[in-house]
């Protein structure tokens, strides 16, 4: 996925991303801000700006999302195949209409329920599924707290009974208890699919909140500078044997309940990526081989993946003894 910039410059926002999400499964896409996570989400919904170029394919329900036209996307994909749970619900909801009116409109548009009473009942049913209190349905978005606005947005995403839910940073700025609640509710929607959707649904959650990812995800995809550098099982990633890419290891070691040590330096500019491994400049294991782009082998894109040893709680900040410093 590339952006053509003024002056003929090209910015590769996402490159060679391969992953899959199955029904009933949650894949968390994690990485630092500005690494290309949200661009990937926009691409799946066909919401990229006009200067974007895409290559490759993204298959969902027999449709290639990347090559599909606007007509297909509008009539068959958005809301019907993919439900979007946005980053800031307060900005996503229409400020001048009540939650009930927005839900009823979505119900009418997506499900073909006819008649005012039936629409009203369907809207209340979906609000109930998202644990949105029914006595708040007649409120406007600015009258809701952050947590309730998040549930209202989730209710809107659930209306279409989509096989894929796409959550873009659903927990940013919420406090810890609210994060846990939001995440548990998302998990409930994929674990207990509603009768209409017997196959179960999949959840792709884009986040930089590692604690939230640990709580919800079955699998983890780590993104760095527009590339997926590691795909791992969530239990192995957060527990033992731990992440294998030095970047993933660094991210985990930055958590306050682990070493609390930042990764040195800043992520590279997407418009000015090095030819080789993009992480080499910040990696304490970098060597001459890192001048070449590492291929994805055994689900990790690194020339010198770490052997698994469980990152038990506060590990010393010093690198492990087997490290070869360049």
């Amino acid at each position: 996925m590339r952006f053509l910039m003024p002056g003929g410059r090209r910015v590769a926002a996402v490159a060679d991303a391969h992953f899959d999400v199955a029904a009933g499964e949650c894949l968390a896409l994690i990485g630092e801000s500005g690494c290309g996570k949200s661009v990937l989400a926009s691409a799946l919904l066909g919401l990229l700006p006009a200067n974007a170029q895409t290559a490759g394919e993204a298959r969902l329900g027999g449709i290639d999302l990347l090559s599909a036209g606007e007509r297909t996307l509008a009539r068959r994909v958005r809301g019907r195949l993919i439900g979007l749970i946005p980053q800031s619900p307060a900005a996503h909801l229409t400020p001048v209409r009540t939650i009930r009116s927005q839900l009823e409109e979505t119900v009418a548009e997506l499900t073909g329920v006819r008649g005012q009473a039936a629409r009203r009942a369907a809207a209340e049913a979906v609000a109930d599924r998202a644990a949105f209190p029914l006595d708040h349905l007649d409120r406007y978005p600015h009258q809701l707290s952050g947590g309730l606005a998040q549930r209202a947005a989730t209710a809107l995403a659930l209306v279409g009974d989509t096989p894929l839910l796409l959550a873009d940073e659903p927990t940013t700025g919420l406090d810890r208890d609210l994060v846990d609640r939001t995440v548990d509710e998302l998990r409930r929607h994929i674990d207990r699919p509603d009768a209409a959707n017997s196959g179960g649904r999949a959840l792709l959650m884009i986040t930089h909140d590692l604690a939230a990812a640990e709580r919800i995800a079955d699998r983890i995809a780590v993104m760095y500078a527009g590339r997926i550098v590691e795909l791992a099982d969530a239990t192995a990633f957060f527990g033992s044997p731990g992440p294998r890419h030095p970047y993933s290891r660094g991210l985990l070691q930055a958590l306050p309940d682990r070493a609390f040590t930042p990764i040195p330096g800043l992520p590279p500019e997407l418009g000015d990526l090095p030819d080789g491994c993009a992480f080499a400049a910040r990696c304490d294991r970098a060597s001459d081989t890192c001048a070449a782009l590492p291929p994805m082998t055994e689900d990790v894109a690194c020339h010198h993946p770490l052997a698994g040893h469980g990152p038990e709680h506060p590990r010393p900040a010093a690198p492990a003894p087997e490290d070869i410093r360049a």
Binding site: E32, G34, D177, L255, P256, F260, T261, I263, G265
Partner: protein, 226 residues
């Protein structure tokens, strides 16, 4: 010494957000104030940073009560405080380049001569490259912008730092990096810190002591917006 005594503050005299709150910070101490969203902790942080006039109560700075409040306290007192807010996008002027953003407090206090040296020094401290310094806020990420906002808070060498949910929008690595910058500054200057947040793990790791909101407020707080 920074003492808040029986502070009541808010945006409507009839419905104060903070009631009867008291908190003392010793010089060089790092205190973490823990509370859920909407409890009024950000308002109290604004009062502590002399940015919001309390409805009642006293604020003592090294034993001297702060007087002559208008909306805020007098500027010569406020320059002893560096403040970092939660949302870098809202606390940075979108028209300023990062270098001007960091230099703004020096300009405002008539110390232009120090700008080149001080900005360069701080850019290195917070990890901003010269290329980033020349950009405007919309051209950088949240993490990079918050680094600039932290540099702006440190530029006048404040004796107190007030961080209101400084890391809530940031990823783990940037969080750890910014906390390290604050701690390094405190280690070299002996500045005190009041940091406000809801992340128990982070504040326990970061601060000398953490105070739950209930211990600060004498009365049952009134949640904002309900």
């Amino acid at each position: 010494m920074l003492e808040l005594r029986a502070i009541t503050a808010g945006y409507d005299r009839h419905a104060p957000v903070v009631r009867n709150a008291s908190l003392t910070l010793a010089p060089g101490e790092a205190v973490g104030l823990l509370g859920p969203s909407g409890c009024g902790k950000s308002t109290l942080a604004r009062v502590a940073a002399l940015l919001h006039r309390p409805d009642s109560g006293t604020l003592l700075l090294d034993g001297v009560p702060v007087r002559h409040w208008r909306h805020r306290a007098p500027r010569e007192l406020r320059t002893a405080f560096g403040v970092v807010f939660q949302q870098p996008r809202l606390s940075a002027d979108p028209r300023l380049r990062l270098t001007d953003l960091i230099a703004e407090p020096l300009r405002a206090t008539g110390r232009r001569a120090e700008i080149p040296q001080r900005v360069a020094e701080l850019a290195t401290t917070v990890g901003l490259t010269p290329d980033l310094l020349g950009r405007q806020p919309h051209e950088v990420s949240d993490g990079q912008l918050q680094r600039a906002c932290l540099a702006r808070a440190l530029v006048l060498r404040p004796r107190w730092l007030v961080c209101d949910e400084m890391t809530a929008m940031l990823d783990a690595s940037t969080t750890a990096a910014l906390v390290a910058v604050v701690e390094e500054y405190r280690a070299t200057t002996g500045a005190g810190l009041l940091t406000v947040g809801h992340d128990r793990t982070l504040l326990h790791r970061w601060c000398d002591r953490t105070v739950p909101w209930e211990a600060v407020c004498g009365e049952e707080p009134v949640p904002a917006g309900s």
